[in-house]
């Protein structure tokens, strides 16, 4: 069964290209254009991993992640923060909030795949 990814990103073309590239890699991708929509999709779709842009309109990534974590009893769900370039303080904030990984934008696609595989791939399952 393929890994289901929830991708929350406010920039349309970035979201679209990322979704397409992930789908090309064989992942199931659900996308959302802000935190509020992402929370809705989260409840509907029960993803394995959530990629959250931190700065989004309507509801930001941190808030959305908190709601998701409260709403779901499944501890296997992984959260990855996508933030603007090199904000050290943001990184610490994300780690404190319980994100499993942290990537700075612009995202190198290979790095993203590596993170997803590490958190949700066959090896990760074996480790869990």
């Amino acid at each position: 069964m393929s890994i289901k990814i929830l991708l929350a990103e406010d920039h349309d073309s970035n979201r679209a290209v990322l979704k397409r590239r992930l789908e090309r890699k064989g992942y199931a991708v659900v996308d959302a254009e802000n935190g509020a929509v992402a929370v809705e999709r989260f409840k509907e779709q029960a993803p394995d991993i959530v990629l959250l842009d931190i700065s989004m309109p309507v509801m930001d990534g941190l808030e959305a992640q908190r709601i998701m974590r409260d709403a779901s009893a499944n501890p296997a769900i992984r959260y990855v923060a996508l933030t603007a370039h090199a904000m050290a303080e943001m990184r610490a904030q994300c780690e404190a909030a319980g994100f499993d990984a942290f990537l700075t934008k612009p995202i190198e696609f290979d790095d993203l795949i590596e993170v997803i595989e590490r958190l949700c791939g066959a090896n990760a399952d074996a480790a869990a």
Binding site: H11, N14, H85, E89, R91
Partner: protein, 617 residues
């Protein structure tokens, strides 16, 4: 209203002393090291010195004169008294002479006129010539006649007999007369003996006559009156004449030539005493005068020196506190007024200068504020622009990568290469934008460091791995040297960025050469530091270009940007980052022979927690 001088002085003194006391919270200006005290102390010292000189002068020069005059005067009086005593004695001798060289006396002694003594030596006759006793002796020493006025009897008292027959008065064969003082039973006599001869001096002598005159208080009174001194006879001349009332003494010899009698001249030593009193009074006046002068000096100094100095101080204080003060209205001496004038001029100059300075500072401050505002705006603009540029750039790159993947799948190699160019260009552009963003963050002070324990050897090798493709492209040999690489607590990501910049730069400007990355520990100001060095054998940098090497947007040669690529921001950012970490970057270069860039920073951040350091170790 003009006061009389003395009143004015008094009022001034009271006022000034009062002012001083109030001003200084102290009752006396003499307790402190004041101008007045100094002057008066100097004056006192000078006065004491002069007084000493004066006393010394009086003692050594004037006083001896008084004592000398006194002594001379005493001597003169003693001499006068002695002279008178001798004159008295001479008169007795003269009387004896008169009676001895007389034919009737001669005849009487030869046995003529037995009434002669009674006629001539009657009590009244002897009283007239003031003779107390008369003795007539013949040549054999037999007393033919004797008379003593004491009691008016004929015949001598034992005392008078003993004197008149004393060996001192006995005439030798060749002697005609003898006279002098004689003592007997505590009384003094003038005694005179004379050989009785014929009036014409012919024929043998016929015995001798002795006249005695007792020196009683009447005689002494007469002598005193004549000598104009008070006299006293003493029979023990050896006794010291110490009594204060004795001014001088003369020793008199008796007929035996023995010094048996002393004449003391009584009375105070008038001249010396008067002199001493005069000198003391004079000294007292001098001391009083000096004290008076001292007080007057204090008052004058208070009025004319200390007062004006305080007035000047008040004036200066007033000017300092910004109050208006007009010193020329005070009654101060010209010098102090001149000083005040000079001060006023200086103060005005200073005020003008300060006003100018204030204006300049204000100007500079506003200019600086404007510059800071402008710079902040620039930084904000750069940050915003970078952020806004990055999102679409990110999209371009992502889509290009997607296209490349698709082209690869479809086996369209030309498309893969073309899209690869888009990817390379967008990567470059992203790098540029990121550098601008980093730099603006550092400039805005918004850069935060993310400290962790870093293995510098691993970091160097990691960077080498990253730049290996570049080095291969330029046919450069890449060497990593790790000498006892210290483990440090620092911002790994930013340090890597710095080293990467330097390594990439070195390779970029070196072809068919060698690039060496080395790590070494160092010590600076007693603290542990690390040193990362990148050495190349590339084209080097001219001394002139080195000056602006670390400034943003300044590659050594502007043509290099076109020739070698690069943003021109790498070194500026490296410098800013390493300085944010508390370190520095430096370089050496020989144009055409290569360059060495060196990064150095502390192994632990300033004020790092010991736990963190322990972890690092």
């Amino acid at each position: 209203m003009r006061l009389r001088f003395v009143d004015e002085l008094f009022v001034y003194t009271v006022l000034s002393v009062g002012r001083l006391a109030v001003r200084e919270g102290e009752l006396s200006v003499f307790k402190r090291d004041t101008l007045l005290r100094r002057l008066l102390l100097s004056y006192s010292a000078l006065s004491l010195f002069l007084l000493g000189v004066l006393v010394l002068g009086l003692w050594c020069l004037i006083w001896p004169n008084f004592t000398r005059i006194e002594k001379e005067e005493s001597l003169r009086r003693v001499e006068a008294a002695s002279r008178i005593v001798h004159a008295e004695a001479a008169r007795v001798t003269e009387l004896a002479n008169t009676y001895a060289v007389w034919d009737e006396a001669y005849r009487y002694m030869g046995g003529g006129n037995p009434k002669f003594p009674a006629e001539n030596f009657s009590a009244s006759a002897l009283a007239q010539i003031d003779i107390d006793a008369v003795v007539l002796q013949n040549g054999a020493g037999k007393i033919l006649f004797a008379y003593d006025s004491a009691g008016g009897k004929t015949g001598l008292t034992d005392l008078e007999r003993s004197i008149s027959t004393a060996p001192g008065l006995r005439l030798a064969a060749d002697e005609d007369a003898k006279s002098g003082l004689m003592i007997g039973d505590g009384q003094v006599f003038f005694a005179s003996t004379r050989r009785i001869v014929h009036t014409d001096g012919t024929g043998p002598s016929n015995g001798s006559i002795v006249f005695l005159r007792r020196i009683d208080s009447d005689v002494m009174a007469r002598i005193s009156a004549l000598a104009n001194v008070e006299l006293k006879l003493r029979l023990d001349p050896a006794a010291p004449a110490r009594a204060d009332h004795i001014r001088g003494s003369a020793r008199l010899e008796d007929v035996f030539g023995r010094p048996v009698i002393r004449v003391d001249i009584l009375g105070q030593k008038e001249i010396a005493d008067l002199g001493a009193v005069s000198l003391l009074v004079f000294l007292a006046f001098v001391v009083l005068a000096w004290c008076g002068t001292g007080v007057a000096l204090a008052l004058f100094l208070g009025r004319d020196v200390v007062g004006p100095v305080f007035a000047l101080r008040d004036h200066v204080a007033a000017r300092q506190s910004g109050a208006t003060s007009h010193f020329h209205k005070t009654r101060s001496p010209e010098e102090v007024r001149a000083l005040a004038q000079t001060f006023d001029a200086t103060f005005s100059q200073l005020e003008a200068e300060m006003a100018r300075h204030r204006d300049l500072v204000n100007e500079a401050q506003s200019a600086r504020a404007a510059a800071e505002t402008a710079n902040a705006a620039k930084t904000r603009f750069l940050a915003n622009m970078s952020h806004e540029l990055r999102t679409p750039l990110s999209s371009i790159k992502s889509y290009a990568e997607l296209l490349r993947d698709v082209a690869e799948e479809d086996g369209r190699t030309q498309d893969v290469a073309d899209v690869g160019e888009i990817i390379t260009a967008s990567r470059h552009l992203l790098g540029l934008v990121n550098s601008i963003l980093d730099l603006s963050k550092v400039e805005a002070g918004k850069m935060t460091l993310d400290y962790s324990s870093v293995d510098l050897g691993e970091l160097a090798r990691n960077v080498a791995t990253l730049v290996t493709p570049l080095a291969e492209e330029n046919a450069d040999t890449l060497i990593v040297q790790v000498a006892d690489a210290p483990s440090c607590v620092t911002d790994e990501q930013k340090l890597r960025q710095c080293l990467l910049n330097l390594a990439a730069n070195a390779i970029k400007f070196t072809s068919n050469g060698e690039v060496r990355i080395s790590v070494a520990p160092m010590t600076r100001n007693g603290a542990d530091w690390f040193c990362l060095e990148v050495q190349d054998t590339g084209i080097g940098i001219s001394a002139e270009a080195m000056q602006r090497l670390f400034k943003p947007f300044s590659q050594a040669d502007e043509t290099t940007t076109r020739k070698f690529g690069g943003t021109g921001l790498g070194l500026a950012l490296t410098k800013q980052l390493i300085e944010a970490m508390g370190g520095y970057v430096e370089m050496e270069s020989v144009e055409g022979a290569g360059s060495t860039f060196r990064l150095a920073a502390p192994c632990a951040p300033a004020g790092a927690a010991p736990a963190l350091l322990g972890e690092a170790a």
